[in-house]
Amino acid sequence: MSRNLERKRQNKLRLLWRKGFLVWSACMLIVISGCWDLRYLDKLGVVLALGVDEDPSGKQKLQLTVQVVLPQNVAAESKSGIGGTAVTSFTETGDTLFEAIRKMTSKTSRRLFFSHTQMLVIGESMARTGIFPLVDLIERNPDIRTDISVIITRGMKAEQLLQLTTQLEPIPINQIHEIIQVNQAAYGTNFSVKVKELTRMRGEGKQQSVLPSIRIEGDKALGHSNENVNSIPPAAIPVLSTMAVFREGKLVDFLKPKESRGLSWLHHKIKSTVVKLSCPDSEGKLIVEVQDSAIKYKVKRDEEGKPIIKVNVRITGSIQEIMCPNVDVSDEKVLNQIGTMTSLAVKDEIEETINKLQKKLRIDALGWGKEIYLQEPYVWRKMGKNWEAEFPSVKSEIECKTNIVGSGIRGESIVK
């Protein structure tokens, strides 16, 4: 009995101690952490895009434009057509991005909030002076995501793009963001490149960066106001251009559309696209829709120990449009023939891109250095130091195979 009592007393003491500790630690946690992180949602200016240009006055290194969303106007969109613009923009100059951001507080009533930033827009002239200094902040600052995509403006300033209103999406930067996605998914002249991918390219292998580019079609001066989106067609719209090629972070050139898609093939970014072919036996064109593609790199060594890049492309597609007579899609031979033609066309595109990058620009934006580093590290050890000089002479073999799996829901073409 007394033992029981003793145990009960001990239990009670232990419990008391435990409870005390709990309360103490809970109190400490509140005191220690405080509520430093409290941000009111309605006191935030949500920045959706950052635009960087060169300082027009030339006094400072750069000019930052931010596109800040106006939530009340985004919501008003659904209720009635009359409302302000969905976003606004602020511009500030500075030597660095962060400096410019903080300087901007003299213009914004709300604290800028970068966690939902979706895009980094770099003006063409700024891109020519180098993009890597701009990426550091995004990589370093925990507030900004590293999976925001990067785009180059072509023939204009980033500021102008961020001041453009759009029709399809109330928030302009969403439209630009989606344009890249849709284009990449269905046609493939451009593909999105994220900040973290830019960083990754900088690693071993000396791969040079490529970025999609965008321009404004129409009257840039009219693009700023809501009137732009209240007319059909709008006075100015953003239009995706082609991929831009960089050497050591400095813009060198824009590819031609065909080369640009060739680059997408080589980067394995093509999900679906169309290949235009001349009809085998007659005048007219037919279209093969690529439904699936796979690309494999294999690095071989020739007798001298020089690397040969073997590019193996496999395409699955189907005929979707025939604008010429006498194409008998029920005949397997015809399908095979079209398959071969598709392969040739794609191979041609790819070769053109390789030619441009390797022989003309001498920029390894293809990641071949990386492939050699991964597959033949010994060869890379020898060549790597002098890769810029070696790259143009690297041989490549391209093999392309197409499997045509269908011809749509119609047999014979109506064209006779």
């Binding site: 409290l38 941000r39 949602l41 309605d42 949500v46 919501a75 939902h116």
Partner: protein, 537 residues
């Protein structure tokens, strides 16, 4: 007769009792004199002392009559009006005494006469000898008719319990689409019979106490001998016997007085209105506590998992039952966490929500005067007020409340821009989710904890929520109900018991009873008959 002023004293004692245990003891002494206090030999004296003791209460009926024996002996029937069934009293006690000719021609001793009456004349099922005042009052207020015979210091109590009580109705708190429609009633006898009808086994045992110094409430425990854990039974008996209170008006008194955890929002005793649910628990080796005067039967030991089980789970197909189980767990989490998660997200972790949603929320927050956490507090509080109002108000006022509550609070507040619509959505969704819980007591726990979590979320964000949830888990794993860990099949982990937790396994897979519940007989389904082994003691 029982000492001067005993009446006044008992009243004073009742007042004092609530204030201190010493007064309670005092009261006990006051009640004790009835014990072993002999009855008087004469009817008139007995009648006088009853009248005196009961303060001449008008509902105590004294019926004097003359017996049809040789001596024309005088007799007295005492009963409480409204607690006896008048027809049965007439038919089985008064009429026989009037009409039946006594088999004895010789005049007999009054004591013997009483025995004869008891054996031959009274035709009710239960007849009790009464020798002292304690038993007399007990039986009198249970609804017995008490018969005195002149010259005998004994009385006979005949069971004619009756009077108006609520009949068996469908349980109000635990509805079921499929399953028995009957629910417990306020009468403990009806309730025990309802259980007996579910488990017709000689192993269904019952023990009874009278608890409440003044209320004298019958309290029974029922269990299946051989399945129930003897340790739990022993513990339960001790706890019930140690209760010293003036009255037990509802099983909630017992629940609070015998619960393991005095300071926990989580219920460690299950209260249930459905006989089938209680019977199911008895078959799993648990013990039911029935209290007269309430349809809520307690079940011990109760673990957290039981509060998510509805009896209907076992009447439906296992797949749909499993789905519903999971739904309940998820709803509980929503009821617990949703407002706090909302507050944490909009005031601390804006980067966590998709941009489009953020913009919608931000647009709603535009121009709202209060910070998000205050908004959530206000709305939660308003909801609790509404809920309480709806529970307590007369049902005629229902429409008013729903109009005022729905229109004024739901719509006008948003339109006036005082509260953002998102908060209203969150609070209403939380409210709906909190009603999913099949047991009311757990829902209440979630209600309280919600506010604590809200506080943590508004000061520390997700970190605070994590902290409180961690503390809750610690607390939960610390609770025991009659020796059983509260979150049992999860921690400590019993694989076999997991079949009836987040999922409800098919009945043909649940071959064993939950562990650690009187391990005597684990097998639920086997070739052998149900209950067969005596527990080792």
């Amino acid at each position: 007769m029982f000492g001067p002023g005993s009446q006044g004293n008992s009243k004073a004692g009742k007042k004092a009792m609530k204030s201190s245990p010493r007064a309670e003891k005092h009261e006990k002494e006051q009640l004790d004199p009835y014990e072993n206090k002999p009855l008087s030999l004469t009817i008139s004296e007995n009648m006088e002392s009853i009248k005196k003791e009961l303060g001449e209460s008008q509902d105590i009926i004294f019926r004097e009559l003359t017996l049809v024996d040789r001596n024309q002996t005088k007799a007295l029937i005492v009963y409480v009006q409204g607690m006896v069934d008048d027809e049965r009293l007439d038919e089985f006690i008064i009429q026989p005494l009037h009409r039946e000719r006594f088999p004895l021609d010789e005049p007999v001793e009054p004591k013997e006469l009483l025995a004869v009456i008891k054996a031959n004349i009274l035709s009710t099922g239960i007849v009790t000898d009464i020798c002292d005042w304690k038993l007399l009052f007990q039986k009198l207020f249970m609804g017995y008719g008490i018969l005195f015979v002149e010259g005998s210091d004994q009385a006979v109590g005949a069971n004619v319990i009756g009077g108006a009580r609520r009949g068996i109705e469908e349980p109000k708190t635990e509805m079921a689409i499929r399953g028995p429609r009957e629910g417990f009633t306020e009468s403990i006898r009806t309730n025990t019979s309802l259980l007996r009808r579910k488990i017709r086994s000689p192993k269904l045992w019952m023990e009874q106490w009278t608890i409440g110094e003044i209320s004298q409430t019958p309290v029974s425990i029922m269990y299946v001998k051989g399945l129930a854990d003897e340790n739990v039974l022993k513990d339960l008996r001790e706890r019930l016997e140690s209760i010293r209170i003036d009255g037990i008006l509802e099983s909630g008194y017992i629940e609070e007085l015998i619960a393991d955890q005095k300071w926990s929002p989580f219920p460690t005793i299950l209260s249930n209105e459905r006989p089938d649910a209680v019977a199911g628990n008895l078959l799993e080796g648990r013990v039911a506590i029935l209290v007269d005067g309430t349809p809520f039967v307690l079940v011990v030991p109760a673990i957290l998992n039981m509060f998510f089980q509805a009896s209907e789970d076992y009447y439906q197909r296992f797949d749909i039952a499993t789905f519903l189980r999971m739904l309940r767990f998820v709803s509980f989490l929503i009821a617990l966490l949703m407002p706090s998660v909302y507050v944490a997200i909009v005031s601390y972790h804006q980067e966590m929500i998709p941009t489009q949603l953020l913009l919608k929320l931000a647009a709603q927050r535009e121009g709202v005067p209060f910070p998000a956490y205050l908004e959530a507090f206000i709305m939660e509080f308003v909801f609790e007020i509404l809920r309480e109002a709806v529970v307590r108000m007369p049902s005629a006022a229902g429409n008013t409340i729903s109009i005022v509550g729905g229109l004024v609070i739901g719509q006008s507040v948003v339109e006036a821009g005082i509260v953002s619509p998102a908060v209203v959505i969150v609070v209403s969704f939380t409210a709906i989710a909190s009603f999913v819980s099949p047991t009311y007591s757990l829902g209440i726990a979630a209600r309280l904890l919600r506010f604590i979590l809200l506080l943590a979320a508004s000061t520390l964000g997700f970190y605070g929520i994590g902290l409180v949830v961690l503390l809750l888990l610690l607390h939960l794993s610390n609770i025991r109900s009659f020796g059983m860990p509260y979150i049992k099949p999860f921690a400590p982990f019993y694989l076999n018991d997991m079949k009836d937790t987040l999922v409800r396994a098919p009945l043909w897979l649940m071959r064993k009873r939950p562990q650690k519940l009187g391990n005597q007989n684990m097998v639920r389904q086997d070739i052998e008959p149900e209950v067969r082994k005596e527990p080792e003691q």
